[in-house]
Every structure is written in C-alpha cells, then in structure tokens.
Symmetry: C2
Subunit: 277 residues, 2 copies
C-alpha cells in the first residue's frame, strides 16, 4: 500500500490497522505531512508493527522502485489515461501480477486524490463504486475496502501458470512452429524458459518515458504538440501493453538510433547549408 | 445500521460517512457514550444529515421496533446461537428481507462487540473474514465494508417474487388442492393474497419469547433447566424458522392453553390433596 502526501496522521494509523486486519504488511508513505506521530500510533490500535516498518519516501518513483504493477485508486471517473475497474474486477489481476514482482496499490491525498502525474505511473485504475451524491470515502476506509477485497479474492485465487510446451513428445515443432516460437520466445523451448518473461519494473518503464520524451524533443516532434499531453497519451498506450524488460531494451535502442539518425541529418544539413545557422 | 453502546463519538461520525458513501441513511444509536459530539460531526465530513437524523435509543428493543430481520456483526466465531455467514454470502438475503420490512445491521461496542443478549435478538450473524492474528476491524471500517458489500450486491440484485397461482385457468383446485391451500393460505386464492405473508416484527418475536419464558416458569419446566441457556437455544430454533405473524398468534395461543391447563391441574391437585401446601 502506497499513501501519497497523506495530511492527517490519524488516517495513516487507521490505514495501517485496516491493512493488518487483512494480512497486509508493507506500507509506503510518500511525503506524509506528519509521521511518525502519536495520532497515527493511537489509530493503529495494535498495528504498530506496520507503522514501524513503514517506508517513508521522498518521491513516487522512490516508492515504486522495483514495482512491476501499479494500481491507482481514484474517486473520480475523470478522463484518466488508464482503464478503470471496480475493486472486485481488479483483484484477480492484482494477485496474478504478484507472481512477477511487487504490486503497488496507490492512494492519493484526502482532499484531492492522486495527481495526473501520479495517475500516469499506474497501469490500472480502481474506483470504489459509491453514491454519486456523496462519493468521498475516508482514505483509511478505502484502504479497508481494498484490503478486504484483496483478501477475499486471495481466498479463492489460483495463479494462472503460463502454458508450457512438453520438452519431449510426439508433436515435434514444424517449421511454422519454429516461426511461432521465434515470435513467442517466452513459451518456446524448455520449461525453464517460462521464467524468462520478465515484466519491466517501474523505474525501467520511467526510464523509457524519460528517454522517449528527450528524444521527441531532440527530433523536434514537440514543436506542434503539447508535450505533457502527448506524454500522457503515450503512457496510456504503454501502460496497456504491460512492457517486458526486453521490450524496453528494444524501444530504447530504437530511440537511440532515431536520435543518432537525426543528429546525422542535422550534421549533413549543416554541411550542405553552411549559410543557415 | 444500529450501533450499540459506541464509546468513541469519532467512530459514530466515521460510520455515518461510510454509510452515506454507499447510499445508506438510517442510523440508530443505542446508548452512545457521547452524542451528539463535535468529534462525531468532524469525522462525518459532510454526512451531517445522517448524524442529524440518527435515532438515539435507550434499548436494543427500542432500536429494533418494527424490524423484520436483524443481522448481528461478530468479530469472533464464538459458540453463538445463530448461523454465521460472510458479508458476501449474507447480502442477497439481506436485500431480499427488505421486501418484507426494515432490516437492521447491528454493530457492538469497540472493545467487546455485541453481548450474548444482543446476539440473541438477531436471525443471522455476519463475520468479516480477517487475519486471525489481528482480526479487530475498527467499527467504522466494518460499517464501510458492510455498506460497500450491500451496495455492490444491490447493483446486481433482483428480488425473488413469491410464486403466484393463476387466478383463472384450466388447473382447478382438487379437494387435495383445497387442503393444501388451507395449509398455505399465503399462496392460495387470488394474486393479492400473496402480500399476506407477513414476517413477524422484532417486537412480536420478543413478545413470543417473553410469553414462552413466562409459561415455562409457570408450568415448572425450569426447575431442572438453566433458564437463560434454554432460552438461547429456543431463540436459535425460532430464528432459523423466520416466524410469520400468524404463526406467533398460533404459538402464543398454545402457550396460553398450556398455562391454563397447568393452572387447572394445579387447582385439581390442590382440591384432591388439601393437606399438601
């Protein structure tokens, strides 16, 4: 659970208690206004260990380091850049993603929720259905509902194991099979290869976005575009795809080449038009 | 929602907020320690109307007046006298019972939950599954989970309408059919009779228990039994059956006759044995 810029320390304590009742332990706090705090401890009511082990972070990227899947809680069904599901719809996927690495459930401030920038770091949005006339759940109450849904889903959860090919068997790969296995390297070959599908961590994905933005500036793409808006749309695209580690290498390789090509073009242009500055 | 003997007014406010986010409005408070209270209002955070309309009661029977189905929240899976379900299992029935009249969701104190006497007033127990090592949800958090489950269940809920007999048709009742309709007056005859199935209200059921206990005393049944324990077992039995209004009339009629019979026996015994006092 990651709580961003929480204002009232009592809410941090109540959230810790809510987590612990459902068997959750790992709390991350991004720039909490007051922490540690006596009110947090009072509201934790026995979940002191969760508070004590809480990791205070200076930025969202620090909090999401190593995370492979981030779920953003949103009270508003605004025009956000990612798919939004109900808690019940989302929890099976959340559990499945934990097979690949740490999953973050991200909560915004009491007053205004998550910023657009924070939402852009997530691959999935979750909205707790509420009365449209009064939809503001207390943040600790929202943590309780989410932790409860996760716990209930975990009771009946069986991880989906990727389909493995038999190492030996009558069905030898045809040439078409070889071609397919080239397209799907993660399922080809021996069973041990299955573990080679590695979803990219948060910081690797952010590294790609930074590289992408820099490249788009360099090649002059942003002269007719709103950079912030375009980056949001690109985040949306890549959030849907759930990038793998190897794919990020490929994409960044492409960006590097694109810049170099552009640099060569510029250089040649400068050589051919020495009069233009 | 009925909160019994709540200690901290902040919890009442937080519960009111939790209710309102899920579209619930009717809050009953049995002997709250502090209410109204500034802390309750602060924690309600906009659900002031729910607090203002809250009904403060002096006893559980006052709070449950007119109620046809009472659900008791329990944190402990103790040896209680009623069936216990998860919130998800229970909510379809809760919604169905609202077709017959008001349904109460009953929450105990922060420290010790509901008393055995309070549990005995309910027809169903609900336990929010929690980590056995730390199972104490905050009361407002529990209200949030229950209100949320009720709200989610209501989205997909379609009331079960009692089967109606055709008013006209080829299948005329035979003499056996007439006998059956005598046993099942609520489904016999015209469609308008369907609405005559009336589940007994809380106070009618309590009236039966009081009558039953008094009668058992009078007929001397309790001389070899623990009265409190036996009454708990009888409550368990009748809670399962969901008594109808008419059935209570029948049962109380039986009790009256039993007492009268007993009184006649005593009188005759006294007449025949004038020496025994």
């Amino acid at each position: 659970m990651v709580l961003s810029h929480t204002t009232h320390p009592g809410n941090i304590g109540a959230a810790a208690r809510a987590m612990k009742t459902m068997g959750l332990r790992h709390l991350y706090l991004i720039n909490p206004r007051h922490f540690p705090d006596a009110q947090a401890t009072a509201m934790a009511a026995g979940a002191d260990d969760v508070l004590q082990d809480a990791v205070v972070c200076g930025s969202i990227d620090e909090a999401l380091q190593g995370v492979v899947f981030t779920v953003a809680m949103t009270a508003r069904l605004r025009d956000i850049s990612i798919a939004v599901q109900t808690p019940r719809e989302a929890m099976p996927q959340v559990l499945q993603e934990t097979q690949a690495g740490p999953v973050a459930l991200l909560f915004g401030t009491e007053m205004s929720g998550l910023t657009n920038e924070e939402m852009g770091k997530a691959q999935l949005g979750v909205n707790i259905p509420a009365d449209p006339a009064f939809s503001s759940l207390n943040i600790a109450a929202a943590v309780q509902v989410i932790a409860y849904e996760l716990s209930v889903a975990a009771q009946s959860y069986a991880p989906v194991v990727p389909q493995m090919r038999p190492r030996h068997g009558a069905a030898q790969p045809t040439s078409a099979g070889v071609a397919a296995s080239h397209l799907l390297p993660q399922t080809a070959g021996s069973a041990s290869n299955v573990s080679k599908v590695r979803p990219a961590t948060h910081e690797r994905v952010e590294g790609l976005y930074a590289h992408l933005e820099k490249t788009l500036f360099e090649i002059g793409f942003f002269t007719t575009q709103n950079p912030a808006r375009l980056m949001q749309r690109l985040r949306r695209l890549y959030s849907r795809t759930r990038l793998e580690d190897e794919e990020i290498n490929i994409l960044r390789g492409m960006l590097t080449v694109a810049t170099e090509y552009n640099a060569r073009l510029k250089k040649r242009y400068a050589e051919e038009h020495p009069d233009v500055q």
